[in-house]
């Protein structure tokens, strides 16, 4: 636990855009524009003076090749003080949480007092890259003064045509070549997670998210965004209040012929952004804010991508708990990123296994069972969608608000990420 006299970073507030399916109404908003929308909403809600923001720390996965440091672009587009610097971080699906922990660490080290941290991604605006062969072949034309012979040479290199067509972008592991759904499919098989269990989990996620939207629970943390066409978008676009296990059961497997993963129990490609305002506790109180929560601990881990790609949280969450000096039983709320229902259920199974704890965590007792009453109480990525860089910031915002509303004191976050990465963090309510 945090020592009393130590500088501490606190979460003052959070805001996100609605999350929409890729190639929907946000198609013409790139990741910077989405980030600007979320951060502007946050500034408006908290009433913070623009000049007070010292840094933007932003997470993203699909970064624009010509301006990868989107954090700085967001700061400039927001018309913040030019002195507000910006840094972009990337750790696959944990990028949003990464941005927040970087900002918290900077604040706790005393390097700054106020930062906006978060993340965004626009799958709709992923750059379709030309194959390296084309780029290399065209190089003599682009650089230098080409002769007619050069043009002919280039032409001769650009055959057959199939080799030079842009490739369909896919999110495959560089080392294994597996698309993430294939890895999750293997995890489902290896951990014996049934199709029914996955569908049930997905339905619960949708129903909880729908209930949260209907009750106005998200009104405090979702800012309406106007698309370039002039249309206002107020609510998340992927949540289906009317879905059921029967409906999901009809979907066909998406990643393997005899597989159990479907579009219904996997998270969708999503556009969106989320932002969190962090301050040193002193600064927050001196500006008259009531801090919501603080990060007690966090941890990032890596596992072999060829083994169980998305099991990272099963190692990272216990590690974060250890660092906080807590046990799973001390935790009131648990929020796990739902990349795939199969992945969450696999991780839950590992956390509940004593054999797993002995061999992989070096302890005698299982980390513990997580019942659905305290897990993802307002749904998760399956229902809301998963703009890669934004998810971590969405989770921190929702949990910080939930701790305050419910009067509970602790929350545990878990996020799996490409490359076999995993993240865990403990949030505590600030009195």
């Amino acid at each position: 636990m945090q020592k009393k006299n130590k500088r501490r970073a606190v979460i003052v507030g959070g805001m996100r855009t609605p999350f929409l399916k890729a190639f929907g109404d946000f198609t013409k908003l790139d990741t910077i524009a989405l980030g600007v929308a979320a951060a502007a909403g946050l500034l408006k809600k908290t009433g913070l003076r623009h000049g007070d923001v010292e840094s933007i720390v932003w997470g993203g996965v699909i970064l624009p090749p010509t301006q990868p440091n989107i954090a700085r672009e967001i700061a400039l587009d927001l018309r913040l003080d030019p002195g507000c610097e910006g840094v972009t971080v990337t750790r696959a699906c944990a990028s949003g949480l990464q941005a927040i922990t970087v900002a918290a660490a900077e604040i706790e080290r005393g390097n700054m007092d106020v930062a906006i941290a978060g993340g965004s991604d626009s799958t709709s605006n992923a750059t379709i890259a030309l194959p390296p062969k084309v780029v290399h072949a065209l190089a003599p034309l682009a650089l230098g003064k080409p002769t007619p012979a050069d043009y002919l040479g280039v032409l001769s290199q650009l055959t057959p045509i199939s080799e030079i067509l842009p490739r369909q972008p896919k999110i495959a592991e560089r080392t294994t070549g597996e698309v993430m759904g294939e890895s999750a499919e293997r995890m489902a098989k290896r951990n014996e997670i049934t199709r029914e269990a996955q569908d049930e989990f997905a339905v619960r996620s949708h129903h909880r998210a729908a209930a949260a939207i209907a009750s106005g629970r998200f009104d405090d943390e979702v800012v309406p965004v106007q698309s370039p066409d002039g249309k206002w978008i107020h609510a998340d676009g992927l949540v289906r209040a009317d879905t059921s296990v029967d409906k999901l059961a009809k979907l066909r497997p998406a990643f393997a012929k005899d597989g159990t993963l479907t579009a219904g129990n996997s998270s969708a490609l999503t556009d969106g952004a989320a932002a969190v305002l962090l301050m040193s506790e002193e600064k927050a109180r001196s500006l008259g804010y009531k801090p919501l929560a603080a990060l007690t601990s966090w941890s990032y881990v890596g596992v072999d991508p060829a083994d169980q790609l998305l099991m990272g949280p099963a190692l990272a969450m216990p590690k974060a708990l250890d660092r906080a000096g807590m046990k799973l039983s001390d935790i009131d709320l648990i929020d796990m990123h739902e990349a795939f229902a199969a992945q969450v259920l696999s991780v839950l199974k590992m956390l509940g296994s004593a054999a797993f704890a002995r061999a992989r965590l070096g302890r005698d007792e299982a980390v513990g069972e997580i019942d659905s009453a305290r897990l993802n109480v307002h749904g998760g990525s399956l229902a809301l969608g998963h703009p890669f860089g934004a998810t971590g910031a969405r989770m921190v915002t929702t949990m910080a608000n939930e701790l305050v509303r419910s009067g509970k004191s602790t929350a545990l976050l878990g996020i799996c990420a490409a490359g076999g990465l995993g993240a865990g963090a403990v949030l505590e309510r600030v009195e």
Binding site: M187, D307, F356
Partner: protein, 473 residues
């Protein structure tokens, strides 16, 4: 050197043509090998059929090892034995399933049978019942591994049954060699259970590609190591390889360096060029010495002393000077015996004070030394001498945790065998159960395995790397 028939067999069209025409051409199966560094999960995603006789004692050892190594187990075990697989399956996400769950069309990568419960002739029937229906479903470069107990204190009947396993495995090796598969017997002494896993990782993986038809005994003789590493096992270790300039020595030096060892590459001063080039590329040390010289052992000891000791010694340097006995000159006899055997003994003695605890000594014997060979009385004598040497030396050093073993290569594709007349060479290649010669890497893999910390259960033994070419030993 390439083997035309192995290359031809790699072409599926040629293969099916030869087979459908019934041509009398053997088409050996190209062997699956793993030349990269050791892996945490060498058996990832392989299908293992696991069986056992009543009273099987090693099921929990098998369960732990297979799941941790990444294998999917399909069990033909009694329910009480199968429970050993539950917890490891949970830990590594490798739940064991009943054998019936395996789809009809699926090949099996390995058949593993725990025969430690076999006490009499009748008990052997369980082995037949397990292997018989599955042997035709064995995948290419598959594995058959039978686990047994040592015969110490066994009743004559149990001893007979134990020895019978040996004959069974050797014969299965001959039969499955056609598809590039191997069969081996792992004999486990009482109390050596915790030392079996590294051995299984080796014999079940592609690293044992050319090791077939032989018993491997795991004992408690040498002092044990707690939790030997499964990858980068030679980090911070100093390894000496003699005869490192080319062939098996070079392959061994490369394989040891790949696992993290600092390799001292030794060869004759005349071969200084390739030796230092190798040492440089491996980030090791080059050392020139002629093993026939009186002062070579002292020179080597001096060099190793400056490095602070030695963890692995591979006595690979050796020569052949073939002549039938009647025509063999005394100088030639002396030369071979001095370099192949005398130098090994004297160098080991000189290095003894420099050996660190749990060091490993690996000598090169030869199938010629075990089986005998025309025109090689000198060579065979020296290589059979090695078998005796490691057996006795192992006893002396066991209490320091040091193991002493030998590998006995069969027909390996090296410069030495390339010099054999073509007709004899062709015959020699096809003699093995796998129908082909081995690669220097195959011997190197066996040496690296015996030199690894995990091989603490094996000492005083001679491991053949002959593709099942030889019947005895």
């Amino acid at each position: 050197m390439t083997d035309f028939l192995v290359e031809l067999g790699k072409n599926p069209r040629a293969r099916s043509l030869v087979q459908s025409l019934g041509l009398p051409i053997p088409l050996p199966q190209a062997l699956r090998r793993d030349r990269g560094p050791w892996r945490e999960r060498p058996l990832a995603d392989t299908r293992m059929a696991v069986g056992g006789a009543d009273g099987a004692q090693l099921t929990s050892v098998l369960a732990e090892c297979l799941a941790a190594a990444g294998a999917n187990s399909f069990l033909a075990l009694r329910a009480s034995d199968a429970t050993a697989f539950t917890a490891p399956g949970e830990t590594f996400g490798r739940p064991a399933r009943p054998l019936e769950a395996l789809a009809e069309k699926d090949r099996v990568d390995a058949l593993v049978f725990d025969a430690t419960g076999v006490k009499d002739t009748k008990g052997l029937r369980a082995l037949y019942d397990f292997v018989h229906p599955l042997v035709s479903r064995l995948a290419r470069s598959g594995r058959v591994v039978v686990l047994a107990r040592t015969a110490d204190g066994a009743t004559p009947e149990a001893a007979a049954a134990g020895a019978a396993l040996d004959g069974f495995v050797r014969s299965v090796a001959k039969e499955v060699g056609r598809v590039g598969a191997t069969a081996n017997l792992v004999i486990v002494a009482n109390g050596a259970e915790s030392r079996v896993a590294p051995v299984l990782r080796f014999v079940l993986s592609p690293r044992s590609a050319f090791v077939s038809g032989q018993p491997i005994t795991v004992s408690t003789r040498a002092r044990a190591i707690a939790e030997p590493p499964t990858v980068r096992a030679f980090e911070k270790k100093i390894a000496l390889v003699t005869g490192a300039a080319r062939g098996i020595g070079e392959a061994t030096a490369r394989a040891l360096a790949q696992e993290g060892a600092h390799v001292v590459c030794l060869d004759r001063p005349a071969d200084d060029g390739p030796t230092s080039q190798l040492a440089r590329s491996l980030g090791g040390t080059s050392l020139g010495a002629d093993m026939g010289d009186e002062d070579a052992p002292a020179k080597i000891a001096d060099a190793l002393k400056s490095l602070g000791g030695v963890d692995v010694v591979v006595h690979n340097a050796g020569i052949t000077r073939d002549k039938t006995l009647a025509r063999m000159k005394p100088e030639v006899w002396d030369q071979v015996l001095t370099i192949n055997l005398g130098a090994v003994i004297r160098t080991t003695a000189a290095l003894e004070p420099l050996l660190r605890d749990s060091a490993r000594i690996v000598c090169l014997s030869s199938i010629a030394g075990i089986a005998g060979n025309m025109g090689q009385t000198n060579y065979a004598a020296s290589k059979a001498g090695i078998v005796g040497f490691v057996r006795a030396k192992a006893e002396q050093l066991a209490d320091r945790g040091i193991t002493v073993n030998a590998v006995a290569p069969g027909f390996i594709e090296t410069r030495m065998t390339a010099a054999i007349p073509v007709a004899i060479r062709e015959v020699a290649r096809r003699l093995s159960a796998l129908g082909q010669g081995g690669q220097p890497e195959d011997v190197a893999q066996a040496i690296v395995f015996l030199a690894s910390p995990g091989a603490h259960g094996i000492t005083g033994r001679t491991l053949r790397v002959c593709g099942g070419a030889f019947v005895g030993a």
